[in-house]
């Protein structure tokens, strides 16, 4: 069956939300950046500031020089989350398959097979946009296409306002004149390599066969070959049915770059996650850490845990490795999020070598004993030394 995907994209989402709260911001450039940070970076900016040359991630000091008359506001993630929930509520009557972005004003809605109920896909998209505009005062760019990749390129093309309908079968012709950097999934390294070959537009890459692409791009060739032809089978995830995971957050009272303190807090998060995993009789196969720096930059990293584990000590070994990957700057940390994902039943297979087996058994015994003590005498009855600095 042919698919019909709507993509809604509210340009400069954070600014659009702030302008709803304060109408006086509507007729002047706006920069969203954290206050009080020595090396704050721009989190979002209005179209006026963008046209003046300001970009996301740019140092606030530089952005101020470029857009001197801009109003500067601190980010309000709670407001953006609230607005995302409102958007989702408007789209829910049309489909259970809705994939919202992360506080960014993006929403994919899969309305495949609903035309008998709601009418032609393009009419659904237009009605949805009209309703969001009427109810919320936000004016999304919208597109309709046969997959997420093409729908996303379509909204990028008409930013900051407008709509784009890409008829089924038109994907390749639609993408042909587009610059390669507009195609989602083509990463920085790919772009550098494409530039080396002077391949700047999709139509130029399109002229290459898969074997030719493989010579230049190795394992990435398959993805590139499909992406530039507008092929994308990735599903729109059912709303609220994200893969189960354990997510724990910690906001630092004062921004810090004290490694001992950060690791101590990471360990307390690991203890909470481990307890939750053991209670659910699950083990995590992936550990992720997201760090928000005091200048507004964010870094996310993850690693696989093989075999899957629910043991605090083993989890911490993985988490510390991931923390080292994520914490690559000297800037202080404001917020840390731990994500234990790909939850599975604990592996039955024991390690092959006795030394590893003994170590694992020792860790499990220690964790089980601590769980037992805590269940009888409370959480603070026993603590690990490395958590004392938290």
């Amino acid at each position: 069956m042919e698919r019909f995907i709507i993509h809604l994209n509210i340009a400069d989402f954070a600014v659009a939300v702030e302008r709803l709260v304060n109408r006086r911001l509507c007729d002047r450039p706006v920069l969203i950046a954290p206050e009080g940070a020595a090396r704050a970076a721009v989190y979002d900016m209005s179209d006026e500031a963008y046209r003046a040359g300001v970009r996301k991630g740019m140092a606030l000091r530089r952005a101020r020089r470029i857009a001197g008359d801009a109003a500067i506001l601190a980010p309000h993630p709670d407001r953006y989350e609230h607005a995302m929930r409102d958007l989702l509520r408007r789209a829910l009557p049309f489909s259970p398959l809705i994939e919202p972005g992360e506080r960014d004003g993006h929403l994919f809605v899969d309305i495949t097979g609903t035309s008998r109920l709601f009418g032609p896909p393009v009419d659904v998209a237009w009605r949805l946009r009209r309703q969001i505009k009427t109810d919320l005062g936000l004016d999304p760019i919208w597109s309709v296409a046969s997959n997420k990749l093409v729908a996303k390129v379509a909204t990028r093309l008409v930013k900051p306002l407008g709509e784009y309908i890409v008829a089924p079968g038109e994907e390749e012709a639609f993408l042909a004149p587009v610059p390669v950097w507009l195609v989602p999934g083509i990463e920085k390294e790919d772009l550098i390599r494409l530039r080396e070959f002077n391949l700047l537009r999709v139509s130029q890459v399109n002229a290459l066969t898969l074997p030719q692409l493989t010579v230049a791009f190795g394992k990435r060739a398959g993805f590139l070959h499909d992406a530039i032809r507008g092929r994308d089978n990735s599903p729109v995830q059912p709303v609220g049915r994200k893969a189960p995971q354990i997510v724990l957050d910690r906001e630092f009272g004062d921004d810090t770059n004290d490694r001992l303190k950060v690791e101590a807090i990471l360990y307390t998060l690991i203890e909470q996650a481990g307890r939750a995993l053991r209670r659910q009789q699950r083990a995590a196969r992936s550990i992720g850490i997201i760090i928000d720096y005091s200048d507004g930059m964010r870094c996310a990293r993850q690693a696989a845990a093989k075999p899957a584990t629910a043991n605090d000590l083993t989890l911490f070994e993985h988490a510390r490795r991931v923390l080292n990957l994520a914490w690559a700057r000297r800037v202080r940390i404001r917020h840390m999020r731990l994500v234990c994902g790909r939850l599975v039943f604990p592996p039955a297979q024991m390690p092959l070598f006795p030394a590893e087996r003994d170590k694992l058994a020792k860790h499990d015994k220690l964790t089980a004993t601590m769980d037992h003590i805590r269940s009888r005498f409370g959480h603070d009855a026993v603590r690990m030394g490395r958590a004392m600095a938290a």
Partner: protein, 281 residues
């Protein structure tokens, strides 16, 4: 589906073209109009095997883009015609500051149809709240001036426009007044067979679903199946009279739900043929 009048008059025969408002509906596969498994990209050539014209609905939602329009027109025979709806930014969501820019963009978008001679009309469909106020009259006059070298047809949805002075003005501008068949509801434009342009008459069948008309959902608004006797209200003499006054006639069915539109269009063509109008391929 194309037909032409077979009158022994001095005027050249009217070329009647019958079709539907839009052609790309996946539910028409279940409705039996398209064969099972038809992809959207194959629908237009299949449609053109049955009908000689279509109304382009999507140009109301989105500004037409010349490359896509050109690719579309290449899928049909050279004698197939298109009526393109004017984009909503010039009818329903007008920004007084930039509608002229929109009109220029629209011209660029439909240029492939103009060049190939396949543009039968531009349908200016005005919203129900667009009444005959001085401001709206001024805007409509300016819009018609701006597009005056194109074949225009105006569909009013507010009854305040049903005035002889309006028809005279359209006649002077050689702009077609769109005749409509729709439910008998208060405030709607009446069913008239007035022809204001000797080059073109334009008739749209919206269905008579009074209950669903103001539902805000197209699936209810345009869910209607005309009976033969309802169609014969038009084929009896109205269409013939209109055809005598214009050299081209466009007739479209907008009741797309469950493929009722192509079914009704086919039955209308049969009735016209039975009344002595020549049916051409």
């Amino acid at each position: 589906m194309g037909t032409s009048t077979n009158h022994q008059t001095q005027n050249p025969p009217c070329r009647l073209m019958i079709g539907t408002s839009g052609y790309s509906y996946t539910e028409w596969i279940d409705g039996g109009f398209y064969p099972p498994g038809t992809s959207s990209s194959r629908m237009l050539p299949l449609y053109a095997a049955t009908f000689s014209a279509t109304e382009l609905n999507y140009t109301w939602y989105q500004m037409p883009k010349a490359p896509a329009v050109d690719r579309m027109r290449r899928k049909v025979p050279a004698n197939f015609s298109f009526a393109a709806k004017l984009t909503r930014t010039m009818t329903h969501e007008v920004n007084p500051g930039n509608w002229r820019g929109q009109a220029a963009q629209y011209r660029d978008g439909i240029a492939p149809l103009v060049q190939s001679g396949q543009l039968a009309a531009i349908l200016i469909q005005l919203p129900p709240y667009f009444d005959r106020s001085p401001g709206n009259r001024r805007y409509l006059a300016a819009l018609l001036d701006d597009l005056d070298d194109l074949p225009l047809a105006v569909e009013f949805r507010h009854r305040s426009w049903a005035e002889d002075r309006v028809f005279a003005e359209l006649e002077q501008r050689r702009v077609a007044l769109v005749a409509v068949d729709e439910p008998d509801l208060p405030g709607l434009f009446p069913k008239l067979d007035v022809v204001t342009n000797p080059d073109l008459f334009y008739l749209r069948f919206h269905g008579r679903n009074a209950k669903g008309w103001r539902s805000g959902n197209m699936q209810q608004q345009f869910d209607y199946n005309y009976t033969d006797s309802e169609l014969s209200e038009w084929t009896g003499d109205k269409i013939e009279t209109m055809a005598r006054k214009a050299c081209t006639g466009l007739i479209f069915f907008n009741n797309h739900v469950r493929a009722q539109a192509p079914g009704n269009a086919g039955r209308l063509a049969e009735q016209l043929a039975a009344n002595g109008l020549l049916v051409s391929g």
